[in-house]
Amino acid sequence: MPLVEVHDLVKVYGKDVRAVDGVSFEVNAGEVFGFLGPNGAGKTTTIRVLVTRLEPTGGTAFVDGIDVTSDPNEVRRRIGYAAQFIGVDDDLTGGETLVLQGRLHGMSTKAAVAQADLLLEVIDLTDAAGRRAGTYSGGMRRRLDLAQALVHKPRLLFLDEPTTGLDPQNRRALWEYLRSLNEDGVTIFLTTQYLEEADALVHRLAIIDHGLIVAEGTPGELKAGIGGDAITVTLHADASLQEIADVEAVLRGLDAAHDVRAFDHSVAVYVTDGGSRIASVVRALDEAGVNPARLELSEPTLDEVFLQHTGERLRVEEVKQQRRTAMGRRRRS
């Protein structure tokens, strides 16, 4: 039985914001499952339904066979959740923070303290454990936040953009750690806007856009589904729609073309063994009198997969500011 089963999940905010618009998927025990999508795709909304923080508008969601709406506390006992925005208490020490989480998950003080000490060691915060978290650096706060989700040793972890805001080095270190957790048997559901992250970490992923899953599979399957390499013809920025349509027609005319997609002022043709097809593409374009600004050959990447399914490149807002109120800030200074 899958560990997470989601069927036709719908979440409508207010009257007509269909944040999640009929999503179905499963997460199997032992896997790392990724939810990949751009800003506003509905990743956080889905995750908040699964961790019992949000009532769905429609559909069903089961975690470890338990309906998230009918028995939320049973679900909560089984899962760990690190939200998209860090929730670290600046007035408590790192140690106190973890022990509190353990206690709230029904652990005895003794067990919570032991587990907290262990985790502090793992996330390299042992030396800072007795200091107020308000004095921690951004990276330390991230790690403490993640550790909060782990104190009660959940077998299933929900991580909402766990590496957003980390520098590449820390991101890699976190991937390593998540991999080791997964090797110890922890099932991980994570959302990300980073294709490399999905590529490096997940066993299976779903691509979500505008509240809908547009593709699902292993990274390998999804890449294979593209139908080979992409040759992308980019026209000048002021190219007319007609010119783009012309290029599309030319590329469709190639025998080797599996698929052709236009986006912005580029047109991509998907072919097997792209390297040997470049010449024929150039020839065809030349014959049609097209003068491209750039020609690009790329192996299938998740970027391509994303592009093919959503018609957009995945753009990431690099700096996401956590909401903070004046009150919160004042106390922190």
Partner: protein
């Protein structure tokens, strides 16, 4: 049973946070003493008026300062709740397998215990200043309990406003705006015989009056059970209304 354990865990956490922030701690303890000093200086000559029934102005004032402190202190409750939400900490409590009421209970318990410490401090200082307590140590214990219970009921109002507005600043402003009028519309700062007739009637409808009068009788007159019982009844009624409202606002805010 586990709900109680969880409430106490959160009570401990909330209390720790109060103690951790030195400015908050300092002002929580210093403010009542400042009021005690200011009011006794400014209004002290009231005691010379014919008809003033207390031995000294301080005997009359200390219960008012205890009530004022309970009210003020209680109002920070909702601000803390909203701050926890803004800081993403409420989310952590909400996805823990605990009863949601434990979250509110932990908050209100922390308000109660904080008010007890503040009341104890005021009473301690007042003893040094020469105030005498007709009901002795036991009376002091009852005074502290009445103040804390009243404060816990009042914290319900603070949470209602905080959770409905979702804004800590708004809560603070509303708190300051209603606390003083409501105190002046009671017998806290003027003995009933000095109030205009209409105000005397309003004061009778004001729950603060019952708290202040009960404490006053414990300080000055000895055990007058009807006064204490009346105050308890008012507190229970107020608490039932405010805390029900707070729990409702809480459920709505986190859903």
């Amino acid at each position: 049973m586990t709900a109680l354990v969880d409430s106490l865990t959160l009570w401990r956490r909330n209390t720790l946070k109060t103690i951790r922030v030195p400015t908050v701690l300092f002002f929580a303890l210093f403010q009542p003493l400042l009021f005690l000093f200011l009011f006794s200086q400014v209004f002290g000559s009231l005691a010379n008026l014919p008809g003033f029934q207390y031995d000294s102005y301080l005997q009359f004032l200390v219960p008012s300062i205890v009530a004022l402190t309970a009210l003020n202190s209680a109002f920070s409750s909702g601000m803390s709740t909203v701050t926890d939400m803004e800081d993403g900490l409420m989310d952590k409590f909400l996805i823990a397998p605990i009863h949601r009421l434990s979250i509110m209970a932990g908050r209100i318990f922390a308000d109660g215990s904080r008010i007890m410490v503040q009341a104890l401090l005021i009473i301690g200082i007042s003893l040094l200043m020469g105030t005498t307590y007709a009901t002795g140590v036991l009376g002091i214990v009852v005074i502290i309990l009445l103040a804390a219970l009243f404060g816990m009921a009042w914290a319900g109002l603070s949470n209602i406003i905080a959770l409905r507005t979702g804004n800590a600043e708004a809560t603070m402003i509303v708190g300051i705006t209603i606390t003083f009028p409501i105190l002046f519309l009671s017998t806290a700062f003027m003995p009933a015989f000095l109030l205009p007739a209409w105000l005397e009637n309003v004061a009778k409808l004001n729950p603060i009056t019952y708290l202040v009068e009960a404490i006053r009788s414990l300080v000055n007159d000895g055990w007058i059970w009807s006064d204490v019982m009346q105050a308890l009844l008012v507190i229970l009624l107020l608490g039932a209304i405010m805390l029900t409202g707070a729990v409702r606002a809480f459920r709505k805010a986190v859903s």
